[in-house]
């Protein structure tokens, strides 16, 4: 556990080193949610029915931005070899790095999400649900994103490959998250959609460590 804390601290420091990566993701998120109403003609009433879906799509795209660096920079500078010889199995290391990615990027995005959703026309009363669901969804994005980053390790166009691998995997949380908001706006309980969202996160938490570690071992060879 102590070793994982050491790794978390380093990952968080790296996320903020050299230009504040999480702020870039949040800025991209807000830009997307400002651009969509402008592109749609500036009619808030027309946008309102799909505001939740657009907010979740923007959240998913913003979550991809810094994934390329998650393992790639450690592979390039040899740190991945060092990490692999640490006291923690590589599977747990993958999980720890995904959680650090969530803390460094996902949580700031979830904090930004209510602002983005309100900009898109969602009622301000939905803000707590937006933040809560985005917090869960961002964990799912970090986990499946870590898997995509591990699978793309060592490829020449890793960033593009991650997007191609990861975006289809992001469909379920986008559907469940947007569904939760839609149900809440229509006066229904968002709990069923949130339960599916949570189930997705748990599934990703089980699959990502093993598949991600296997992909990393393959890339190290």
């Amino acid at each position: 556990m102590k070793a994982l804390l050491i790794l978390w601290r380093r990952e968080l420091a790296l996320a903020w080193a050299g230009g504040g990566g999480p702020l870039l993701a949040c800025g991209f998120f807000l830009c997307l949610t400002v651009l969509v109403p402008l592109a749609a003609g500036g009619d808030p009433a027309g946008l309102r029915p799909v505001a939740g879906g657009i907010a979740w799509l923007a959240l998913a795209l913003s979550s991809i931005l810094s994934l390329e660096r998650l393992f790639e920079r450690d592979l390039e500078d040899g740190a991945l070899d060092l990490i692999a010889l640490g006291p923690v199995p590589l599977e747990l290391t993958v999980l720890a790095k995904a959680k650090a990615q969530w803390l460094a990027v996902g949580v700031p995005l979830a904090v930004t999400a209510p602002v983005a959703a309100i900009t898109l026309g969602l009622p301000p009363a939905q803000a707590p649900l937006v933040a809560f669901s985005a917090l869960i969804g961002a964990l799912g994005f970090a986990l499946t994103g870590a898997l995509g980053a591990a699978l793309a390790l060592g490829s020449k166009r890793g960033g593009l490959l991650i997007a191609v691998v990861v975006l289809p995997l992001f469909i379920p949380p986008v559907v469940f998250g947007a569904g939760a908001l839609e149900r809440s706006v229509n006066g229904l309980s968002p709990a069923p959609a949130l339960a599916f969202l949570l189930a997705y996160v748990l599934f990703a938490a089980v699959v990502t460590p093993f598949a991600g570690a296997a992909a990393i071992r393959n890339a190290q060879g």
């Binding site: 050491i6 500078d77 991945l80 060092l82 990490i83 010889l85 190290q220």
Partner: protein, 199 residues
């Protein structure tokens, strides 16, 4: 401490070596020699668990290989594993503590490798030799019995080659073992194993 039997290793379609056997005993240094492309680095990476051999076995005396690699093995390859944008102090702290070093071990490594004046600099500001000393610190700070070193002295000047030679000798005297891929002789008494001329 380490026994390799009948190891065959290939990279892609190219077979680097076949049926290689070697052993590394406590208190021993082995210099792994061979031409460029002979497979020295690949052999060390296979021993560290980064490459899967085609055939043969790698055994660590009575310890599960995965556990041995997590607890008993140090790896120092061509790449130092250091982040250029971070301060040397932060990288040193991470590398040493990740491998289980105690604070006093880190302090001792800083002292013996004369790293103190470098610690507040960013890693990218350090020379290749200074970065190598910084990376070497983890071997001193977090004692592990088996050192796998790939061209450990390449970026170092004569003074630091000699100093690191003394540290290697001290490790051997304490019962440790060193397997180093080198082109030049090691600065400690070492058994030489030539793995071939390359292809």
């Amino acid at each position: 401490m380490l026994t390799v039997a009948g190891l065959t290793l290939s990279r892609g379609e190219r077979v680097l070596f076949r049926d290689l056997s070697l052993s590394l005993a406590s208190g021993e240094a082995v210099a792994l020699t061979g031409a460029n492309g002979a497979g020295k680095t690949s052999l060390l990476r296979a021993l560290a668990g980064f490459l899967r051999p085609d055939a043969g076995s790698i055994a660590f005396a009575d310890v599960d290989p995965a556990e041995a690699r997590r607890r008993h093995l140090h790896w120092l390859g061509h790449l130092d594993g250091l982040k250029g944008a971070r301060r040397a102090r932060d990288e040193l702290d991470f590398q040493c503590r990740w491998l289980g070093a105690a604070p006093e071990g880190v302090a001792a490594a800083v002292d013996v490798l004369a790293l103190e004046p470098l610690l507040d600099l960013e890693v990218r500001q350090l020379s290749a030799g200074q970065r190598r000393r910084l990376a070497f610190a983890r071997l001193i700070a977090a004692p592990r019995p088996i050192w796998l070193l790939d061209e450990p002295f390449a970026p170092l000047d004569a003074r630091w080659r000699a100093a690191l030679g003394l540290l290697m000798q001290a490790h051997i005297d304490k019962g440790g073992a060193i397997l180093a891929a080198v082109h030049d002789p090691l600065p400690v008494a070492a058994r030489a194993i030539d793995i071939g001329a390359g292809r």
